[in-house]
């Protein structure tokens, strides 16, 4: 039986096996304590988050949250690339499929066809700053690579990592769905490149997590 297109868009399972603290906050706490225009991230069992300290309820997200059986898992092992990839998979139910598809549509409006084709097929697209002529490789669920363009080769400058609102500790997963994270970084780069560099963490070439 061929899958229907609607199946691809099916959002979260009805019997969720993860804890959607974002929904709890939105429903019960936010009306009383304040609304967040960016929404409240979904906290996954055993996956603490790092949010901007001034984000409402930021401290609630910083500790590992128990899974539905009440078991508090160990924090992710950030020293192990395999563990990092595995944790990334574990976080993925936090993002809605519809959100990601909407983000893809938004991204398509902002970049050219070749860039979008590259992104859709490979999860990365290149862009060159009109201001500084610095090249960037925007990557899905990975830090953005900045490089200096030379006639014969390109030179690595830095890997820039920033996540609006926050991210899951020890992973490359942001609170926003992956393509929205990429879109935010791209728009920041074209709008104010200096600001983009300033708010991003810069990872060195040797950081093995850049390449896993």
């Amino acid at each position: 039986m061929q899958p229907q297109s609607a199946d691809l868009l099916e959002d979260r399972p009805s019997e969720a096996d993860y804890i959607t603290m974002g929904e709890v906050i939105n429903k019960y706490l936010a009306p009383q304590y304040g609304h967040s225009w960016a929404g409240y991230p979904t906290l996954m069992a055993g996956m603490p988050m790092e949010l901007h300290p001034r984000f409402p309820f930021a401290d609630l997200y910083t500790k590992p949250f128990p899974d539905p059986d009440g078991i508090v898992k160990d924090p992710p092992d950030i020293g192990n690339p395999f563990s990092k990839l595995f944790d990334l998979c574990m976080v993925s139910p936090a993002w809605g499929l519809r959100s990601e598809i909407r983000a893809l549509r938004k991204l398509k409006r902002h970049i050219n066809h070749m860039q979008f084709h590259a992104y859709f097929m490979t999860g990365a697209f290149p862009a060159i700053s009109e201001r500084s002529k610095v090249g960037y490789l925007f990557r899905r669920l990975r830090p953005t690579i900045a490089f200096a363009l030379r006639e014969t080769h390109s030179r690595f400058l830095a890997a820039l990592c920033s996540h609006p609102i926050g991210f899951y500790s020890g992973t490359h997963a942001g609170a926003l769905c992956p393509t929205d994270d990429v879109l935010a970084q791209y728009l920041l780069m074209v709008a104010d490149e200096h600001y983009f560099w300033r708010i991003s963490n810069q990872h060195p070439w040797e950081d093995q997590h850049l390449w896993t």
Binding site: G22, A38, R102, S132, V134, S200
Partner: protein
């Protein structure tokens, strides 16, 4: 009609539209934008630069006039808005360059950072995207 698209965790985004003919809607929109700027959202305003769509970060918002205040276009040295590119920032703001066998970017000493002019963009005429505060990564 201007719009403001807010990158949002749950639905993907929230979109606000501003109708200048509806006074109550305009007042509400001004309040929302003011609130967002206050809590640290970055507002990226779509502008037309030489016939092409470009973006500028809103440096401030004037709620009385309902206008985004952005850096103005300046063509000096090929840089478009008074911001110097990352490689030529001074005052300790050079981007960290790491991990290559070559030296870091060579500063273009003839380029001096300077404060750009400001330009106002009415919110009813602009499309903008709001991005939450970054927590690093």
């Amino acid at each position: 009609m201007g719009t403001l698209e807010i990158l949002n965790v749950q639905g993907g985004d929230v979109k606000l539209s501003f109708n200048s003919k509806d006074a109550s809607e305009a007042i509400r929109a001004k309040r929302y934008i003011g609130e967002m700027m206050k809590v640290g959202f970055v507002l990226l305003v779509e502008v037309n630069r030489d016939g092409e769509t470009a973006y500028e970060r809103a440096l401030a918002f004037d709620p009385a006039r309902g206008e985004y205040i952005i850096a103005d276009f300046e063509g000096a040295n090929g840089h478009t808005n008074g911001n110097t590119p990352p490689a030529v920032q001074s005052g300790g703001e050079l981007p960290a360059v790491s991990g290559t066998d070559e030296a870091g970017p060579e500063p273009e000493t003839d380029v001096k950072p300077r404060r750009g002019r400001r330009k106002r963009v009415p919110m009813e005429e602009a499309n903008a995207t709001a991005v939450g505060r970054s927590a690093g990564g």
